[in-house]
């Protein structure tokens, strides 16, 4: 019963975890902008979120036919869900990091991370307001 209070926040929590994960991926790409042979990686956020919330099956997930079978926890991200980026301009050292694209994704991801945080905060505020007595205003 009590978990119904936080169930509404579950979706945003998954989204926040995935945003943090994506931030780490983009940081890796920016860090390796000068490493020869490095291939930039990114995730398909929409399908990753669908997998994390259970709307889409995680690729490579095994069927659980017995009670004792281990299943990935909610929000688990499979490595196979990561995509490799192709270089927008070819170069001799086979590095496929496009700094403009990475900077843009980084800014976009940080804004959306903050937005998700704000959704969570306002969800909690709504809940707190609902719990207050009328005299508390």
């Amino acid at each position: 019963m009590i978990n119904r209070l936080t169930d509404t926040l579950d979706f945003q929590t998954q989204a926040l975890t995935l945003r943090a994960e994506r931030q780490r991926l983009i940081a890796s790409n920016i860090a390796n902008a000068d490493t020869p042979g490095y291939i930039a990686r990114d995730m398909d956020f929409a399908s990753a979120l669908k997998q994390a919330t259970g709307a889409l099956p995680i690729p490579g997930q095994m069927a659980a036919t017995q009670r004792g079978h281990i299943q990935p926890t909610a929000g688990a991200l499979s490595e196979s869900g990561l995509r490799y980026a192709t270089a927008s301009q070819t170069n001799l050292d086979r590095n496929s990091v496009d700094m403009d694209r990475e900077r843009a994704s980084f800014a976009e991801n940080s804004v959306k991370y903050e937005a998700t945080l704000r959704f969570i905060n306002s969800g909690m505020k709504t809940m707190m307001d609902a719990m207050k007595s009328p005299s508390q205003g």
């Binding site: 926040l16 291939i39 900077r103 903050e114």
Partner: protein
Amino acid sequence: MSMFKVFDISGSAVSAQSQRLNVVASNLANVDTVAGPDGQAYKARQVVFQTLLMGASGSAVGADPGDPVSASAGVRVSNISEDQTPGRKVRDPSHPAADAEGYVTYSNVNAVEEMVNMISSSRSYQNNIEVMNTAKSLLLKTLQMGQV
């Protein structure tokens, strides 16, 4: 908490870039030297970057960049290579380091290349610092979650 790993990743990149900047500085300082520590003309040095895969604890795991085991990838300097092209030769018989034919061998540093290298590495350094600052401010906002 994957956001904390951003500091490991960008930190490794910043230290690799500062090592690159150090090498550029020593190359530029030696652009006109005739003899290095071994008595030969100074040879230009270049850092070689390598992807450093980080495990769950933030420590380094297998160093094959094609290995998709870990999503966080830092940078390290794998080795420093010496440029083996022959140095610049200038005829100056009165110079104490001149050879039998009167030629003095200077270092093989290309000053223009080094300046470009310097600009590139300082830009990368700034980029990584910015990544860390953004991660820091996002984490601080995450700490205030729920304090409405």
